[in-house]
C-alpha cells in the first residue's frame, strides 16, 4: 500500500501525517522554511508563488488560531484564501464531507487545508481526489481528531533546530494529555524520524495511550523523573472537557502533579527550552512564570509556524 501522501516519485503530494514520511522529506521542509522566515521582515510581506491559486481553509472544527496562521501563510504566498467554517450541523443536513469537497473542486480549488474532528478525514479527501483523478489538488491536514497535526509537528521541529541546532543528542519530553493529542503524535513521529535518541512522554495513565512505547518513546508517570536532564519540554494543551470527570479529578490536582512549574523545570537541563502549541491553560498545564520565563520559546513557535506553513504550501503547489 503506497503512502497516500506521496506521489509516484516519492515526492510530497499531500501533507497528511508525519508518520511514515522519510527523514529527507522532513529535513527538506525545514530547510525550505528557513528563507521564508525572512519575508516577515520585508516592507511587502508577500511572495508571488501561489498567485492565482485558490486555497480553501476547510474547517469542520472551529479553530481561530490555526486557521489564521494558515490564512496568513497562504496570503503571504499571494493565494486567494477562502475560509469555510463548516459546523457539523450543516453536514448533518445531508451533504457529506465528500459532497462538500466535490463542490469546491468544481470551483477550481487548488489546495485544501482541512481541520476535522474525526481522525483520518484528510486521508478520505486525499483518497477521493486520487479516485477522481484530481492529482493537481493538494491536501494539508490542519489537525484531524487525535491523529495528526503535521504542520504543528514540523514547526516544533523547526523551533528545536533553531535553538538546539542538532537532533542527534537531545532528550525531549512531551508532557500532558498524550491520549487525545494529535500534536503529540506528530511530534513523536517527527522527533523519532529526525533521530532524537530519547523521546519521553509524561502523564497520568488515563492520558497515555495504549502501547505508545511502540511509537519509540519512554513512558514516565512521575514528572520530575521524566524531566530529568531533558533539553526540550513540549507541553500539551489539556482540553477543558477532560479536566474533571473520569480522566482527571480536577485541574488543580493535574497542575500539582503534571503542570510545568519553575520548580519542576529545574530537573531539566539549565538551557532547556519550553514549548507549547497554544492556546495555553495557564495554571493548569503550565505556570505563568514558566510560560513567560526565559526558557519559553512559545511565541517564536508561532512565528516559525507561518514560515513552515508557507514552505509546505509552496512545496505542494509546485509539485
Amino acid at each position: 500500500m503506497r503512502n497516500p501522501q506521496l506521489d509516484k516519485n516519492g515526492g510530497l503530494q499531500h501533507l497528511l501525517t508525519i508518520d511514515g514520511l522519510p527523514r529527507d522529506v522532513l529535513t527538506a521542509i525545514l530547510d525550505t522554511a528557513a528563507p521564508f522566515t525572512e519575508v516577515a521582515e520585508r516592507e511587502v510581506k508577500k511572495l508571488p508563488l501561489l498567485r492565482g491559486k485558490s486555497v480553501f481553509n476547510l474547517f469542520f472544527e472551529s479553530s481561530t488560531r490555526t486557521r489564521t496562521t494558515f490564512e496568513i501563510a497562504a496570503k503571504r504566498l499571494s493565494a486567494d484564501v477562502i475560509n469555510l467554517n463548516i459546523s457539523t450541523s450543516s453536514t448533518s443536513k445531508g451533504e457529506t464531507l465528500l459532497d462538500t469537497v466535490d463542490n469546491l473542486c468544481a470551483m477550481q480549488a487548488d489546495m485544501f487545508v482541512v481541520r476535522h474532528a474525526a481522525s483520518g478525514a484528510p486521508f478520505l479527501i486525499a483518497q477521493h481526489l486520487a479516485a477522481m483523478g484530481l492529482d493537481h489538488i493538494h491536501v494539508i491536514n490542519a489537525g484531524d481528531g487525535r491523529h495528526a497535526h503535521p504542520t504543528q509537528g514540523l514547526l516544533d521541529m523547526y523551533t528545536i533546530r533553531h535553538y538546539k541546532k542538532n537532533f542527534g543528542n537531545l532528550v525531549v519530553a512531551v508532557v500532558g494529555d498524550v491520549l487525545h493529542s494529535r500534536v503529540a503524535r506528530s511530534q513523536i513521529h517527527a522527533l523519532t524520524t529526525l533521530g532524537v535518541p530519547e523521546v519521553r512522554v509524561i502523564g497520568p495513565k488515563t492520558l497515555i495511550p495504549t502501547e505508545v512505547e511502540k511509537l519509540g518513546v519512554r513512558v514516565f508517570h512521575d514528572m520530575r523523573a521524566g524531566l530529568k536532564d531533558v533539553d526540550v519540554v513540549m507541553m500539551l494543551r489539556l482540553q477543558n472537557e477532560r479536566m474533571q470527570g473520569a480522566l482527571l479529578p480536577s485541574p488543580q490536582e493535574f497542575f500539582k502533579y503534571y503542570g510545568l512549574t519553575a520548580d519542576k523545570l529545574e530537573c531539566a537541563r539549565p538551557d532547556a527550552i519550553v514549548m507549547h502549541p497554544g492556546p495555553m491553560n495557564r495554571g493548569v498545564e503550565i505556570d505563568s512564570a514558566v510560560a513567560d520565563g526565559p526558557h519559553a520559546v512559545i511565541l517564536p513557535q508561532v512565528t516559525f509556524g507561518i514560515a513552515v506553513r508557507m514552505a509546505v504550501m509552496s512545496m505542494l503547489a509546485g509539485a
Partner: protein, 426 residues
C-alpha cells in the same frame, strides 16, 4: 426433478466422507449416495469432475437488511448473493428496522424470503423489545413464528438484571440465546482495538476487556440460569481461553468467529480503510492467530460471514463515523478454503465449520448429504478463484476489506431443496 451429480469429490463432514462418490437427488432430498437407487433416471446430470460436492453452507450471521434498510440491501439481492456463495441456510440477526421483536415481522420476513427461494432463512428473534435491553419479547410467540434463537445483534443489555431474567425466561423454554459480548461502557466509544494501531491512528480504542468482562457476565449467568448460550463473533485470544475453561467446567456454551476476524488484524485498517471498521473491532495479530487455531481445534464451533451490506454513503466518511460491517456471504467459502490451506487442514474439517457444526448450533438436521436429508448442495471448483471486485459481488453491499484480493474456490452450483438455485460457467 431428479438430479445426478457425478464424478465429483464428495465431502460430507457429518458422515466422515471424503471420496469420489456420486449423489442422487429426487423430490428435493438426497435419494442416494455412491450407488444409484434402483430405476433412477435423472432429468439432469451435473458433471462434477474436478469439483467438490459438499452440503450447502450454513451461515450463522447474515443481515438481509429487510425490513427497514432496503437502501442498503434487499432480500432479492442478498439471497442471490447467498446462492452465489453456496450458502443454502442462513440465520439473520434481529437488528432490522423495526427489530424482529414481534411475530408479525418474523412471519413477514419468512414469507418474503420464500419468494426468491434462494436460501432457507432462520430469523434470530430479539431478546428484548426494540433491542433496548429493557423488556422481554414474547419469545414463545416469536419461536412459533419461526425464530430459532434469541439475541441482541450488536446491542447490549446494559442492565444485568434484565439480562439475567431474559436468560432465565429463554431457559424456561430451552431456547438458545445468541449474544455478542461487548461491555456497554468499555465498548461505548471504541472503533478499533486498543493497541498500537489505534494509538498511531488516533482512533478511540476498544480494550479486549470490553469483550472479556461481558463474557464473564454472560458465562456466570449461563451457569446460574442453565440457558444454552452461543457467543457470536468472538475476537480475542483471552475470550477463547475463557470459553474453553467454561466449557470444561460444564457450562453449555458455544461460539463462532467471523471470516474477517479469522484473516485480519488491526494492522489491516491501513490508512483508515472504513471497510475494516467492524464490530467487534479487528484485534491484534496474536488474537487472530489464536482464533485461527481455536477454529481448527474446535474450541470455536463455527465460522460465519457476519454478512453486513452497507451502502457507500455510510462508508465514504471518516473511519470512526463509518457504519461498521462487511459484506461476506460470497466470501464465506473462499475464506474458509484460504484458512484451511494456510492451516494445512483436511478439507472435511474446514467445511464442517460452515456446514454440520453450524447446523448443530442452529439446532437443525441440515448441513449434511445423508440420505433423506434436504438436497441443499454446494458444488465448487477448489482450483478456481474469486477476484473480489465491486462488479463481481452480487450483494448490494460492496463493502469488504477483501476488496481487490484474489481468493481460492469458485462456486459452480448451488442446489436448494433439489433445485438449482445458482450455477456459473467454468
Amino acid at each position: 426433478m431428479k438430479i445426478h451429480i457425478k464424478n465429483g469429490r464428495l465431502v460430507d463432514p457429518a458422515n466422515g466422507i471424503d471420496a469420489q462418490q456420486d449423489v442422487y437427488i429426487a423430490a428435493g432430498r438426497i435419494a442416494a449416495v455412491a450407488a444409484a437407487p434402483e430405476g433412477f433416471v435423472a432429468n439432469r446430470v451435473i458433471d462434477a469432475a474436478g469439483l467438490v460436492v459438499c452440503p450447502g453452507l450454513i451461515d450463522l450471521s447474515a443481515r438481509l437488511r429487510e425490513p427497514g434498510f432496503e437502501y442498503k440491501a434487499t432480500l432479492e439481492s442478498e439471497m442471490a448473493a447467498a446462492a452465489a456463495g453456496g450458502v443454502t441456510s442462513l440465520a439473520c440477526p434481529p437488528d432490522t428496522d423495526p427489530p424482529l421483536d414481534e411475530p408479525g415481522l418474523v412471519e413477514m420476513l419468512k414469507h418474503r424470503a420464500r419468494h426468491p427461494n434462494f436460501a432457507h432463512v432462520y430469523p434470530v428473534g430479539a431478546l428484548t423489545l426494540g433491542l433496548a435491553g429493557e423488556r422481554l419479547t414474547e419469545m414463545a410467540e416469536l419461536h412459533e413464528a419461526g425464530c430459532i434463537a434469541f439475541g441482541q445483534a450488536n446491542m447490549p443489555v446494559v442492565d444485568t438484571q434484565v439480562l439475567m431474567r431474559a436468560l432465565q425466561y429463554a431457559a424456561t423454554f430451552d431456547y438458545p440465546v445468541w449474544l455478542q459480548a461487548q461491555d456497554p461502557f468499555l465498548g461505548k466509544d471504541g472503533v478499533a482495538h486498543d493497541g498500537e494501531v489505534a494509538t498511531r491512528l488516533g482512533l478511540s480504542g476498544m480494550p479486549v476487556s470490553a469483550e472479556t468482562i461481558a463474557i464473564a457476565t454472560i458465562l456466570q449467568l449461563a451457569r446460574d440460569t442453565g440457558v444454552r448460550v452461543h457467543l457470536t463473533r468472538i475476537s480475542s485470544a483471552a475470550a477463547l481461553e475463557m470459553i474453553a475453561a467454561a466449557r470444561s467446567s460444564g457450562i453449555a456454551v458455544t461460539c463462532d468467529v467471523s471470516i474477517n476476524h479469522l484473516h485480519l488484524s488491526d494492522q489491516d485498517i491501513g490508512y483508515f480503510n472504513p471497510h475494516a471498521h467492524l464490530v467487534p473491532p479487528l484485534r491484534a495479530g496474536r488474537d487472530r492467530d489464536a482464533l485461527r487455531r481455536g477454529l481448527a481445534d474446535g474450541t470455536i464451533n463455527a465460522l460465519c460471514s457476519d454478512h453486513t451490506p452497507v451502502d457507500d454513503d455510510a462508508k465514504q466518511v471518516p473511519f470512526s463515523e463509518a457504519e461498521p460491517g462487511a459484506t461476506g456471504l460470497e466470501l464465506l467459502l473462499p475464506l474458509t478454503l484460504k484458512w484451511a490451506a494456510e492451516m494445512r487442514l483436511p478439507l472435511g474439517t474446514a467445511l464442517a465449520r460452515i456446514t454440520t457444526d453450524s447446523a448443530r448450533i442452529l439446532g437443525l438436521p441440515a448441513g449434511t448429504l445423508t440420505v433423506g436429508a434436504a438436497a441443499d448442495v454446494c458444488v465448487f471448483d477448489p482450483h478456481g478463484s474469486l477476484r473480489v471486485t465491486r462488479d463481481k459481488l452480487k450483494s448490494q453491499g460492496k463493502n469488504t476489506p477483501f476488496l481487490g484480493m484474489e481468493l481460492p474456490g469458485r462456486v459452480r452450483y448451488t442446489l436448494l431443496d433439489g433445485h438449482v438455485a445458482y450455477e456459473s460457467r467454468p
